[in-house]
Assembly symmetry: C2
């Protein structure tokens, strides 16, 4: 099979949703917590509600309302906000339990195709997260799930959150690749739009159940991305890395 | 075998000299260059002379004489300085040849025990360079030699060169480990002294031929480092990761 993306030597990956299933992992960690504190919320709904606070919290950094703040700090704040909104007296919950639940974001299973797909892609390309996650979180996710990254780039390298250009550009600069020598791999059209605007190539991976059975966004490619696939193994096949 | 360093979850590695053989690799790249430009220097002596400019050039950054500058820039400047000192008219050499020779530092063979040792150590520990090399250089070295890092940390993360404390401390902070949960692995006593002063554990790997047959420094452990070994495979054995 002919090799697509011939000029590309580096693949940057979105991670939450594209490589790992955050919803199932967060729900798994939340279930005993919700039970212990008698919070009447379905664990999957809880995961979605927590995730819903993710973009607004990063937006305060993007707009300069607050200085650079790592994602683990934002996730912890969002957890407290979410619990408060459901009438939970957060101050009564031991610090250790809140910290442990926040670490759920570091213990997420890769999608079933992810490790095999990344392993094949790594034969041809340098691979690294360009995620909004912080380095320690990405490192722990990698060790938890066996993700074979060559390096960890992304928001903490750039002190900037996607889709701001700096997150992509500073990551690529650190890796030593021009935008035209790199592709962004993501399950989110917005991520790819931002990457394409900077000159990166684009790989869309459909993850129609990232948000659960009722997902309504990112079900399909919204532009003519360079590659569109249903799994990272399919991406590896299309890119001639079988 | 009992596990040593029970509290340790992260190993930070010096790379040039400890993991890869810079002298042979730089000499290999220099040989055709020296021949082409009629420079009467032994390739190994050339490699050592280039390396000898490494510490003084970083010192200008450490002291604040100049702002943060990546190692590839320093190496290129040092190359021009070295050639000039041998009467070479650097301006007459095509840019492409100078750039290509500078990239020798990204194409260095791992010591024979390095990949096997790192692979075994990775089963128990998170592993990453805490090197003075820049991220792109470390990434290219990793792909050239098959070094299975979990992440790439070090000088560029910290904007500071070892043995300055920030290089170690900011790398560990990015990785999510306290100094007491981490060990530094190096063939250089000075590197380990700096790491120990910050509370890190220490692993000394003897590389008595790093500088060639006449090496006079770092032949032996100069303090009671936590582990002293002759190879990374021996380190893996001592740390119970067989």
């Amino acid at each position: 099979m002919a090799c697509k993306l011939q000029q590309v030597g580096f693949l940057g990956f979105d991670v939450f949703g594209t490589v790992v299933d955050w919803r199932a992992g967060v729900a798994r960690a939340a279930a005993p917590f919700l039970e212990r504190y008698d919070i009447e919320l379905d664990p999957c709904a809880f995961a979605n509600a927590w995730r819903a606070l993710y973009q607004p919290s990063m937006e305060t950094v993007r707009t300069g309302q607050r200085p650079w703040t790592r994602l683990d700090i934002l996730q912890r704040e969002n957890l407290e906000r979410l619990l408060g909104a459901h009438g939970v007296a957060v101050d009564d919950i031991p610090e250790q339990d809140l910290a442990e639940l926040t670490r759920a974001w570091e213990k997420l299973d890769p999608w079933p195709d992810a490790v095999a797909g990344l392993t094949r892609l790594k034969r041809r390309f340098a691979i690294a997260p360009i995620s909004n996650g912080h380095i320690a979180g990405m490192l722990k996710l990698a060790r938890f799930g066996g993700l074979p990254w060559d390096a960890i780039l992304g928001a903490e390298i750039a002190h900037s959150y996607k889709p701001q250009p700096a997150t992509y550009l500073k990551s690529l600069e650190a890796a030593g690749f021009e935008p035209g020598q790199a592709a962004m791999v993501a399950a989110h059209n917005g991520d790819l739009r931002a990457a394409r605007a900077l000159g990166m190539r684009t790989v869309f991976v459909r993850r129609p159940h990232e948000y659960g059975p009722d997902q309504s966004t990112d079900l399909e490619a919204e532009e003519d991305w360079d590659v569109v696939a249903d799994s990272l193994e399919e991406v590896a096949g299309v890119l001639g890395c079988a």
